[in-house]
Amino acid sequence: MSLSPRNSRDALTFARELVQQGIAASKSGDKRRARELLTQAVQVDPQNEQAWLWLSDTMTDAVFRRICLEKVLAINPASVVARRGLEALAERPAVSEPPAIPWPPSARAPQEPDPPPASPPDVDHASIPNLLRPSNASPAPPPIGSTCLWCGAHVSSKIVLMCPACDHPLEFECPDCGESVPLEIRECPHCGRVMGDFTRQRPAYLSDLGEAYRAGGLPDKALPVYLYLSEMQPQSAPFHVYLSELYDQLEQSEQSAAEAERAVELDPLNPAALYRLGHWYVKSGQHDKAGELAARLTRLQNRSPRLTLLLGDMEYERREYPVALHAYLQVGKAKVFDEEFDAPTRATIHYRLGEMYRLAEDLQSALKSYQACRDTQADLYEVRDAQHWVDTLRPPLPPQASRSHMETLRAMIGPLLLVWLTGAVTIGFRFDHLTFLGGLGLVGALVGCYACASAAYTPLTVEWREVLGEAGLTRPLPRRIALLAGGGLLLLSLGLVLFGM
């Protein structure tokens, strides 16, 4: 089965489904299939009485049948069926046979269905398994996993998933295929994933496993692994950081904060721990502690952009706006700003900058920040509010303003008048004194002004669309080229007008 419950809430439902399928398989005579399904069911839900009961029916080995029935009685001491099954087993000599639980289940050859067993008296054949049939007699090797690799205690059966002595698991789910793999097996028999050598390199085995669970988005699976790791290496700050992160993902904020605090105790400058702890303080409104942490962050040399952002967040929440503004501006200037932060984070930074600038009545900077927030196009309330502020501070232009050729003319007339009037004064308004170079300057000014005005004001005019395609001068490079070339031509023309006439 490749199916596997991704969280504990689904586990019971999943187990019930497995039991139903297992019972159906058992009734249809496919004992091997039934055993696979029921084994999985008891792994998922070890307290499922029905699963243990039907599993005992699929076992060919008397020892395993007894273990299963004992489990049933442990769960439900009043179970008559289990009691009678045990009595029936006690009347027969115990004969061992190959381990009943296949490992891996799919790697074993299918077995013939068992012969129909004799039914116990007063038992409904349809609803309960037949527990009184004789077991097959054949020699068997010792069962797998008979020793706990954590504490060395003897474990009587592989059915037991946790060591009864140290309460540690005897197997983990493969991060790739989700099948259970005993600790002593180095490669997942289902998918071939290398699990590592638990006996010799236990921390490496667990680290690799935890990392794989985290990467696979399985925080509930990764959490116990890191708990074992932090148990083994209690002075390692990174494990506490991971635990904090995992608790956070599992929405257990207080444990998350406790782990982050522990990590900061162990390593006061650990950026990840400071980051998590700071976020907890901000989220939980612990402004005093946030202030202390902010002071520590302020003193920190070579802060990463993320820590600087955290500093900004904390100071913003504490309404220490000048410090927050400084921190956010530092973050914004970071070279990796776009790569390091996702769109919602960038939007929030810009929005908060806008709010702080607006409070300081620096409306132009506020406008720029709100525009930057809006341009992130993140799906956030802040972005919608930023749009509102952009419209308030600078109402949108009607479409004709950005497309009309008249706007180009309006923009170009000012500089053009400057050059032409200068030329006229230079020759004392006696146009018969106009020289060739002077005339060239006047014409050059016309072209330069048109290029500059188009690039700056109306990048989508028909003329530029014809030259540059549908995008006109909206693309940054042609726009800059037009501005530079036009500006250069304008200056050259002014020079010609001043010195060439």
């Binding site: 409306l363 132009q364 109402p395 232009l397 000012g414 400057l418 009037l421 004064v425 230079t426």
Partner: protein, 236 residues
């Protein structure tokens, strides 16, 4: 005599970069003039003014630096009082005009106003042989633009009526009073046949009306296209 002191707050620009650049350049040029005075004495000072001041007679006779002197004269001043009051007027009216144009366009507009003042000076007093210097033509253009853009804005003004008083007068009243005074002075000069005042009246009038006419070409698009936006400034 009235001295404007402040005209209120801006909306678009946090800091008037264009106005500041103009002030700084004027001050630097004045320092250069002072340096000449200290090193070369009054002769050096005068020679600089004759060489770089705007002299309509020399321009028409096509000698000297001609058109270039329009720009150089715009940044030279004849004394501390001259530069102080020019820059004070610029500092009061400039930022609010710059607010509606943007810094680069404001710089262009300022220079164009100065050129307009020089052009009218050339046309109406072609025989003026005394070089004209000072930023007042360009600043008059800024005042003309201010009259058009912020007519009802209240200006904190210092007026001496036996004692100094600081009323907040409407911009239109101050500016119309100022330009009327200049026009009347111009009429008197025309009647007299020569400029006996020592003031560049034609440059002031040319700059003022040039600013009034040309400001349209330098305004931000949003100022033109959003009436509410314009009213927002006007109502202050």
């Amino acid at each position: 005599m009235f001295i404007p002191l402040s005209a209120g707050r801006r909306t678009y620009t946090a800091f008037p970069i264009g106005t500041t650049i103009i002030v700084v350049v004027n001050v630097l040029v004045y320092l250069w003039q002072m340096y000449l005075l200290l090193v070369l004495g009054r002769t050096g000072w005068r020679e600089a003014i004759w060489e770089w001041g705007f002299n309509p007679y020399l321009v028409l006779s096509q000698t000297g630096h001609r058109g270039l002197t329009i720009f150089t004269s715009m940044f030279m001043h004849g004394g501390l009082e001259h530069i102080f009051f020019n820059l004070l007027y610029l500092w009061v009216f400039g930022p609010l005009v710059e607010d509606l144009t943007g810094s680069v366009r404001f710089l262009l507009f300022y220079i164009l106003s100065g050129v307009a003042g020089a052009a009218l000076n050339l046309l109406l007093d072609p025989n003026q042989f005394v070089p004209g210097i000072g930023a007042s033509g360009a600043i008059a253009g800024v005042m003309g633009a201010f009259l058009l853009l912020h007519p009802v804005r209240r200006i904190r003004t210092l007026i001496f009526i036996l004692i100094p008083v600081f009323p907040r007068l409407p911009a239109w009243a101050l500016l119309i009073y100022w330009i009327l005074q200049e026009v009347v002075l111009g009429e008197i000069i025309l009647a007299a046949g020569y400029n006996f005042t020592g003031v560049g009246v034609w440059a002031h009038i040319g700059g003022f009306f040039g600013g009034l006419l040309f400001i349209y070409f330098f305004l931000r698009q949003e100022v033109l296209f959003n009436r509410e936006s314009v009213l927002q400034f006007v109502r202050r």
